[in-house]
Symmetry: C3
Subunit: 218 residues, 3 copies
Amino acid sequence: MPQLPISELPVSALIPAIDIIGTFVFAISGTLTAASKKLDPFGASVIAFVTALGGGTLRDVLLDVRPVWVQEEKLLITVFVSVMVTLLFRQKVEKYRKTMFLFDTLGIAMFTILGLEKALRFGVPPLIALVMGVVSAVFGGVVRDILCNDIPLIFRREIYATACLAGGVAYLLMRLAPVPGEVPMTVAVGIIIVIRLLAVRLKWAFPNLKPEEENISL
Amino acid sequence: MPQLPISELPVSALIPAIDIIGTFVFAISGTLTAASKKLDPFGASVIAFVTALGGGTLRDVLLDVRPVWVQEEKLLITVFVSVMVTLLFRQKVEKYRKTMFLFDTLGIAMFTILGLEKALRFGVPPLIALVMGVVSAVFGGVVRDILCNDIPLIFRREIYATACLAGGVAYLLMRLAPVPGEVPMTVAVGIIIVIRLLAVRLKWAFPNLKPEEENISL
Amino acid sequence: MPQLPISELPVSALIPAIDIIGTFVFAISGTLTAASKKLDPFGASVIAFVTALGGGTLRDVLLDVRPVWVQEEKLLITVFVSVMVTLLFRQKVEKYRKTMFLFDTLGIAMFTILGLEKALRFGVPPLIALVMGVVSAVFGGVVRDILCNDIPLIFRREIYATACLAGGVAYLLMRLAPVPGEVPMTVAVGIIIVIRLLAVRLKWAFPNLKPEEENISL
């Protein structure tokens, strides 16, 4: 089961750039979270690293292949450049939140579909490949919150997993049809971005569950 | 080193059913814990997933093979059915705690021995296979507690790891004797169930350690 | 990509002994942390295990090979002997902190360089091998703190990661020069030990980051 280079995916030539941009923006998010917890620069680097690369790492470990960042230095370097820039220009970075939010949304959309596609290529059934895609996009943020000793944000107020799922389902349907060329990727990424932006604008959220009686401790 | 299908294990034809039942019951436990923490349905699904499948996943990653749920959809589907049933009929589910406790005990007993056997088949030394068996059974609950920001329950009040260890040792001794057929599995599972039920009934527990001076920070 | 036995590394015959000693001392650290959190002996064993073997395990999972302790029983046995000794002679152990601190420093220095060397041998680029070396040395302590529900100590007050990085860089430069024989290992380990002892003596630390505004939640 050879590991396919990302360049063989049937998708746009923009992917390497988007991979780098997504990693860069996720690393900013991690650095700012770390700073808000009063960590030191070393801790901030670690948090930035897991936020940016944790999702893809888990996906690859589950696929039983070596994670991409272990083979190629560019992602690791991207994280550290991102941390340095963020720490040096923290106040400016905080001003560009809206722009970053757009890049971030683009990043998770791309990560979802790329992760799904990679899992399919390694022989994973479609339903599970869908889960792998979402894991690629959201797991980094989960580990960031665990390391910072919070209950992961995504578990309390669902922000983007549902958008990723919807885009992933659309991608799978088009891919299995099959719709040729770059159409499935483009449409699916569009769906994720639109749902997420609407969700934030309209404050969509699942209702939180109410604790009733004591839960069963197994 | 090919990954053996579970059906080649020298054990009862009930295993697929028990695998599903164990996964279903563990997922209920995860869902109820998530609800008690006021997570949303997405968070509850994730917690249910890791509670049910986390142990086997860690075992397989350590064995350097692809986890079972990545290859077959039935376990993933079981988890999501379990979450939906639990959320829809939460009050009824809470009434059947005792029945579930029995299924849960059966599940961890089976998971322990199946995990141990799988590790042996992949060439792991017996002592380490024993640890792998216990990890298969208990690690899911540990991750559930970490994600919910608690110190894992099992570290504070040991509930079933010792039972799993005792059953695992019995299984290894019978297996290496060798006792033929389904006897080792049946006896070992029985030992785990009996010890666990006695432990709960008689409130067996290790004494907690007392903090004395400050610990060494390495 | 065959997994090289540790004995083929171009380093001193003392390595097996140092591996055992490092594991033993890290396990003491884990046990004492667990005791300070009032865990029971089972929980203390788990914490000791992840403190001692967690770093090497993560490194090997990322390299997509089976962790050493899964193949050889000696490391697992070392951990459990260490836990038992620590729990039986806790007050005495706490007296020998200074001696243990020296062993611990030697252990992390060796773990860093051995981890780096192992990654290089499995075809990982030098910069990433450096990260793998540091991960081998420090990740165990991170998981220990997460399991005990603390923000990892190393993120708040950097204690040894920088020393490991410095030693690792020196090792890489000598190794790529190439400086022959055991010189790179010996010098690099010396550098790590000296920097760490100076850091502790002179209370070197990075400044903690200040939380400014709210961080961006992605």
